[in-house]
Amino acid sequence: MNALDVQNAVELRAVRKNFGKTEIIRCADLVVPKGQRFAIIGPNGAGKSTLFNLISGRFEPTSGDILLNGRSLIGLKPYQINRLGLARSFQITNIFARLSVFENIRCAVLWSLGYKYAFWRSLDRLKDARLRAEEVVEQIGLKRRRDSPAGLLTYAEQRALEIGITVAGGAEVILLDEPTAGMSRSESEQAVELIRTVTHGKTLLMVEHDMSVVFGLADQISVVVYGEVIATDSPAGIRANLRVQEAYLGTAQELQR
């Protein structure tokens, strides 16, 4: 581990993932520098969500290494990875349906504030937990729905809550899996603003399909096709990249027809 590694928040080295005999990720290499906003795009079925699942510990890679701040994540369980400072959101809304919005966020801050498995302290007396949770609830714009059961929120509200749960714990590396999926144009714009605010100063790694969101937010973009990273560049560079155009739109000859 040299000084250069610690500059990178997340690093994938020759990562492969097979499900049975099917190769989903075929040798993925990725470097996400600290403090950057990084987007992963690619056609459907390219393996983007699988990459996320590998980084966050939901799956184990078949081979290769995944590093968080220079430290290998292989073999670690999701909760261990989270405690190292990486938090993720989910493509399909994954909230605590029977708890209120406020309680959802409060749960997300408990471990990071050191309360762990305490059963001898009253939750309501934990001022720092309450203040931090109120802060995040306000940030995600759900203050008026503070006491509603999360399961009763609208879709866009739940997506906002999803982001809130992800960032509440104060993780330095945030993974957002299609945060604007299923949103209208105006909802997406609001979501982008929210993401920009809550990930200020942190490392953001994002899977997205909505190109306006990607080009509006990302500092760097990686394109994943058939389980491989075929290009990593600034947004302008990606737009001009021929291989990327081919992957999305077919070959140049097909375009001219």
Binding site: N94, F96, L99, C107, A108, W111, Y117, F119, L123, R145
Partner: protein, 428 residues
């Protein structure tokens, strides 16, 4: 008609509720003072601690266990052995604190068995608890020193270390001991729901995967909940040991586990007070229902099935929903609908229960002749006429009940829609 918001009710309401609870516990034996009543009240008290502890697993953490009796019963065994040690002069602890010993015993076994059972979650966990329950129950005959063989372990509750003036001879003294511990346990378990671990247990219930991704090892969360629930279950077992002065292998068996599950669910696993309601229903069923009919367990099972299908939140959720209707001023719209539903269901009820009672008379009382009394009517089960009539009433009843249910559902849904609209308007 205005409605009370959750937060307005919150603070002043809390004192009122706890105050009423304490008052009821103190006053109950003055109102119901027959010996039978005292026995029933004592049973309710001990069983309520058991169901409340079970709901820490089921309602609070989403863990369905078929073997909770293990912690109740083993806690009881530890308690009763301790009592006998005290009587033999080998140990000193006041009888009033024996339930605490039971609790520690329950917690100990919570550590031992919880470690194994919480290795898996969900459906697999449920089956493992069944297996562990059987393991303990089947080991009862193997370790007669601890389990007392077929007869169990007995004790005399009046012989321990006592507070002057209290002998625990009269049932009323035992009742107040149980009431005291019930109050402490209720407060303790309620406080638990408002601790970090308690809230995270809720999170694990709602979404175990997400709970991992906010930094929690869900297996440890569940393990800790089992231990704490085992503690309170053991207190219940200890109280039963004092109350009945005997603990046997039945106390760890599947029958008790099943009853705890049944009545917790019946009372309502989704609220804190549901299990207490379940305990009341339990004692009433055991004492009253079992005297009215021999098939009372069958009826309970059928009610349970109907509840799972149509009211999975139990009695407390039904109460909650109807109280909400009252709060929103819509009760007058449902009054008639309830009456219709009730009347429409009566024939089915009479028909089915008559058939069941007749079957029972046929099978059991063959020696006593074939005439039985159902609802005051004399029926000769050897003849076809009573059978045909009962079956006819039942079939007719099924039809009317179905229609009545449809009528009710239309009105219920309409009321719910209007309530939802009012709530949306208020939130906007």
């Amino acid at each position: 008609m205005s409605f009370l918001t959750h937060s307005r009710l919150h603070v002043s309401g809390a004192w009122l509720i706890w105050g009423t609870y304490i008052a009821v516990l103190i006053v109950a034996p003055w109102v119901f003072h027959s010996n039978l009543a005292l026995t029933v009240l004592s049973q309710i008290g001990a069983f309520a601690i058991a169901t409340l502890s079970y709901n820490m697993l089921l309602g609070q953490s989403g863990m369905l266990s078929f073997g909770h009796a293990v912690y109740i019963g083993l806690g009881g065994f530890i308690a009763i052995h301790t009592m006998n040690l005290v009587v033999a002069g080998k140990f000193w602890i006041p009888t009033s604190l024996i339930p605490l010993v039971g609790g520690l015993g329950g917690a100990f076994f919570g550590v031992v068995f919880g470690y194994v059972t919480t290795k898996r979650s969900g459906t697999t966990f449920a089956m493992i608890t069944l297996g562990i329950g059987e393991l303990v129950a089947s080991s009862a005959l193997t370790f007669p020193g601890f389990f007392g063989g077929e007869a169990g372990i007995t004790t005399d509750r009046t012989l321990g270390v006592k507070i002057p003036g209290i002998t625990y001879g009269p049932q009323i003294q035992v009742y107040y001991l149980i009431a005291f511990w019930l109050l402490i346990c209720t407060a303790g378990m309620y406080a638990f729901t408002r601790t970090p671990l308690g809230r995270i247990a809720n999170a694990v219930r709602d979404n175990p995967e997400r709970a991992q991704f906010i930094g929690y090892n869900t297996q440890i969360v569940r393990f800790l909940v089992v231990i704490i629930a085992g503690f309170f279950a053991g207190i219940s077992g200890g109280l039963s040991a004092i109350n009945f002065e005997i603990v046997s292998s039945e106390n760890v068996g599947a029958a008790v586990s099943g009853l705890v599950l049944l009545f917790t669910f019946l009372g309502g696993a989704g609220t804190f007070v549901g299990p207490i309601i379940g305990a009341v229903v339990y004692a009433l069923s055991y004492v009253l229902l079992s005297n009215i009919t021999n098939a009372w367990l069958l009826y309970l099972g059928l009610i349970f099935l109907i509840m799972v299908m149509y009211a999975p939140g139990g009695i407390s959720s039904l109460l909650q929903m109807n109280l909400r209707v009252v709060r929103f001023g819509q009760w007058h719209r449902l009054r008639l609908a309830y009456l219709v539903l009730f009347t429409a269901a009566l024939p089915l009820f009479f028909g089915v229960t008559t058939l069941i009672e007749m079957i029972y008379a046929l099978q059991l009382d063959v020696g006593n002749g074939t005439v039985t009394h159902v609802y005051g009517i004399e029926l000769d089960v050897a003849h076809a006429v009573p059978w045909m009539s009962a079956a006819g009433v039942a079939i007719l009843g099924a039809f009317t009940a179905f229609q009545g249910a449809r009528y009710f559902k239309v009105r219920w849904d309409s009321v719910q829609r209007d309530i939802a609209l009012s709530m949306a308007k208020a939130a906007a």
